[in-house]
């Protein structure tokens, strides 16, 4: 029986993506922070941004897209699942593509804060713009305008805390660097 090294690497990759997907589901459904206007924001964007910053675009695409899609299925909003998959998937993918930086040898290095913030802002535009378009098609563009402020707030909080969580996690558990590819 032959064991290939590249495929044994992908076992870690699969485990990483699956666990982060489950974390996104939990953070979408359970962890909610009250807002001043008596609403709630979920912390799924924190994990999507965190995954993109630390583990790259493809892990963030799958974890963000699949995680929010599954959360919609479980949470009783299945009609939103395909849209969430695309919107949050693309959000994670773009954040990861912009924020990740390689050195001369091809190893990932920590990007500068300004780069992380720019990637986060792109994520905010994708998320709120995506939900505006999807909402506009489903229930009218005028009605969909109402959701923009809350979506902007949620994704802005998401990427800011994504950066904070990433920095804190690198200090609390430095071995996480070993999982980066």
């Amino acid at each position: 029986m032959r064991v290939s090294t590249s495929k044994s690497l992908s076992a870690t990759h699969i485990a990483l993506t699956a666990v982060l997907t489950a974390v996104v589901v939990v953070f979408t459904l359970i962890v909610r922070v009250p807002t001043p206007i008596k609403g709630y924001i979920s912390l799924c964007d924190v994990i999507i941004a965190f995954s993109a910053y630390l583990f790259g675009p493809w892990v963030a695409f799958v974890a963000g897209g699949l995680g929010t899609g599954l959360a919609d299925f479980i949470g009783g909003y299945p009609q939103w699942a395909p849209l969430s998959f695309v919107i949050h998937g693309v959000q994670g993918l773009l954040i990861g593509l912009i924020a990740r930086k390689k050195d001369n040898v091809g190893m990932f290095i920590d990007a500068k804060l300004i780069r992380l913030v720019f990637a986060g802002v792109v994520g905010v535009v994708v998320m709120s713009g995506g939900y505006y378009l999807a909402g506009g098609v489903l229930y009218g563009f005028k009605t969909a305008l109402v959701e923009i402020p809350l979506n902007v707030l949620q994704s802005t909080v998401g990427f800011i805390f994504g950066i904070i969580v990433m920095k804190a996690l690198l200090k609390a558990y430095p071995a996480v660097r070993l999982l980066r590819r």
Partner: protein, 253 residues
Amino acid sequence: MNTNLYINQSGVLYRFDPRAKLLMLVVLSIVLFLPLSLHVLWLCVVISMLTALVVGRFRSSLRPLKTILLLLILMVIFAPLSERGGTIAFVIYRNIYVTNEALEALSRLASRLITITYLFTIVMWTTTISEMNLAFQWYGLSYKGSLIMSLAFRFVPSIADSFTTIQQAFELREEGPEKRKKRMRDVLPTVIAALVVAIKSIPYVAMNLEHRGLGRDQKRSRYKELETKRSLVVHLVIALIIPACIAFVGICW
């Protein structure tokens, strides 16, 4: 934490092949965006709600409507703004009026939203997650993609449990937690601790996957496959004929 919306019953919808259900869901969702007559759109609403009533009984059948109630109210509030031109149906206050065209647009959007919500919910009520996963695989989802999906479902309850335990441990240290309003900075330590716990489990999961044969030529585990019987073709044809009939009647009426 419940990770399933499946309602355990028997009936035609339960016997219908999950692959055909997914196909019908996608095609019907597309058909609803065609320029169908309002009568047909509302007929779809009635049929989907009646189906939900049969599958989920009265109490459960109203749940999907509850999830979109706020949106429906907002749609009604914004109706005067949506179509300003056309014949005035009624005046609310001085310059604020609702036209017949706005009412029609509102009716179209509301019926479409309600039908789509019910269609997705009915599919979730009548299909198990494993059937759904296998159906996705039949449509081309890779082995690794399915594995990620099933592993994620496996980990959701345990990560939710560890998050709740960590949260309770942090709350025990706080002074009068019931009086304090939960803020972002209070959530952050819990989030980081829960993430560390989740990430620490990754090497063990990877090791288990390798033990089960991932990365080897001869795998020690494999997914079961949905049976491909002659009835599948019949189900797939039905899944296409029903939306086609709705489209035909809706456009011609």
